[in-house]
Symmetry: C2
Subunit: 356 residues, 2 copies
DNA sequence: TTGTAGGCGTTATCAG
DNA sequence: CTGATAACGCCTACAA
């Protein structure tokens, strides 16, 4: 009855046109929602397309079209806030009429491979999320690309690519203001040495110390940010270091939630109560911070806003290539949860630890 | 010196050919590593390609080529084991000469949209990871697709699409054997009602009860698996229910790690010690289980094997469409960590809870 | 080893 | 609204 098994060729616009007796270009018009077809014809075209299971060939389309409407996105699928930003990019892109093409960056697949993949599809712009490339590499990439590049999460304003990041310094400052306002006088800060956006956040801590006349208590953790579970191990290590002390700070801040949660859990497992004995806060407001069983105070870095800003930057320059790249800074906001509270009057907590 | 700002057109094979004075087809030959060009010519072509920043237009290529070498992958970027499976698919696909095209499934982007996206690129096969579609929908999708569909993580053998899943029932059985072997006689099981692969895992629990002559203790949790943090909330809710009891089981098993970790944390926050007072185990061996501060015993569901099996199924049917779909079952393995131990002789733990 | 010719499915232009 | 024609960049076949 049907064609044989080898008629696996997907239907084309010509097939639709033949089926309902109109021209190919009319079908094309309808598929693009362009004026020039009657409502009745539109209906018949759409109906036939559905019956045949027609899907436009995007390769042919991009071959013919002058300009692409695709945003290429490079991301690390298993790296904490990146998938959320990707979802936001889909939403923001759709709102501006852009499709999204994903390309993963993994242990066995370099950023350059992902770039070539997306360039091969002739994307209108590239959005690179949390790349492990440094500025020199990113610059080289942006130069060979011919297409605007937007870097999300790291970097500073420069003339080669757009930068979209959150205001980590101000976010940490606000968190410190809140803790100091609660009465905390000794606030420790965990610093995972090899984390790209960490420098900015630490600056927020350092400046807050002066503003509130607090003493500095920096726990610097070495390591490789690409190593599996680096952030979590940094949190555990910081907790262990604290637990070895005779007196504890009344609060600890970490520049990401993975580290903060790991720190918090290690403290709790060792008999401390949070926030009664010690307050803990993080950065990101990652899903893990929102768990009712974690309930971590954190500085929210809105993935939706980051994604939207990245799309805006990409579209802006895709449509006007001569514009210079910009830097977009996304405001953070403090999310107070149950892991922080006013310190106790006397440092009974440290006594409790010493007694263990 | 150079062309003007509007010469943003990416270089083509013709440009390369013109530059070094050879024919376009020779360039094509070289780019495809086909025989028919001298080594010297090859070198010059590659050099010119690099200088010009040439990237082959995959749209044009797919338009011309008879068969595609792309695997389309549909996944939910923020859903726990999926990104890891995606990474594995990249590796396995590359080993077989296939590229990977990703398309995300989000709260605002349906599976069908992702399917259309990938079909538009004329992928050779579709791999659908953890879709929220039921069998009827998946079947309809597979039928309209003309291209083989592989479903990862759920479903049973059928004649419309391939199924690649892990042996959840056997995995849970093995875990139960281990716990019973430690001396546990009362083992509770958390069952998030709306989780796709949960039914199979629960069957493993049920069967183990008979084998070890244990009494059944099933905590059934309602909810919508697409809701944010559903699994975590299920874990917290299960913990709360346990804490209300006068006597506790000596062990609790959950069919995924998110639920198990949330359960564990809630128990710890309420003063129980794990594993001294109660053992907790999960399923997935997700990264979160490996945190030193969580250290959760779990049933490992190897994302690399799942990804490799999915690629194998996809390639197999892409290259021989007439073959019937198969079901591939990936063996799980028990990963014992610190959250499980032999129960205490007397149920002091329950007394401790009652005293709170 | 190189050249010539044609076509993949779509978009675009222009005259009817 | 249709029909004719061309083009996008690449691949394939075949002839030189």
């Amino acid at each position: 009855m049907n064609n044989d098994a080898n008629s696996r060729r997907p239907p084309t616009m010509a097939d639709i046109a033949a089926r309902i007796g109109v021209s190919r270009q009319l079908v094309s018009l309808v598929m693009r929602d362009q004026p020039g077809a009657s409502d009745e014809t539109r209906r018949r075209v759409r109906e036939a397309a559905k019956e045949l299971g027609f899907t436009p060939h995007v390769g042919a389309r991009s071959l013919r079209r002058a300009q692409s409407k695709d945003l290429g996105v490079i991301f690390a699928p298993t790296h904490s806030p990146e998938p959320e930003i990707v979802e936001a990019i889909y939403t923001a892109g759709a709102a501006r009429g852009y499709d999204v093409m994903l390309s993963a960056q993994t242990a066995t697949r370099s950023t350059d491979q992902a770039v070539d993949d997306l360039l091969g599809h002739r994307c209108a712009a590239l959005i690179v999320i949390g790349s492990n490339l440094d500025h020199a590499n990113l610059r080289t990439t942006a130069e060979r690309t011919l297409v605007p590049v937007v870097v999300v999460g790291q970097g500073r304003r420069n003339q080669h690519y757009d930068v979209v990041r959150s205001s980590g310094d101000k976010g940490i400052s606000e968190l410190m203001d809140y803790l100091a306002g609660l009465g905390h006088r000794r606030i420790a800060y965990v610093d995972p040495a090899s984390m790209a956006p960490a420098a900015l956040r630490r600056r927020g801590y350092e400046r807050s110390l002066k503003r509130h006349d607090l003493s500095r208590d920096l726990l610097s953790l070495p390591g490789d940010s690409l190593a599996r579970n680096y952030f979590e191990e940094a949190g555990s290590a910081a907790a262990s270091e604290l637990l070895r002390r005779r007196t504890l700070p009344t609060a600890v801040v970490a520049p990401n939630d993975d580290t903060a949660v790991s720190l918090l859990q290690t403290l709790v497992r060792n008999g401390l109560r949070v926030p009664e004995d010690i307050s803990v806060a993080g950065f990101d407001d990652a899903p893990i911070a929102r768990l009712t069983s974690v309930d971590l105070t954190s500085v929210r870095q809105d993935p939706d806003l980051l994604g939207a800003a990245a799309v805006e930057a990409a579209v802006r320059r895709a449509e006007q290539l001569e514009l210079p790249p910009r830097e977009s800074v996304i405001e953070t906001s403090l999310v107070v949860r149950g892991s922080t509270a006013a310190p106790r009057r006397r440092t009974r907590s440290s006594a409790a630890v010493a007694a263990r």
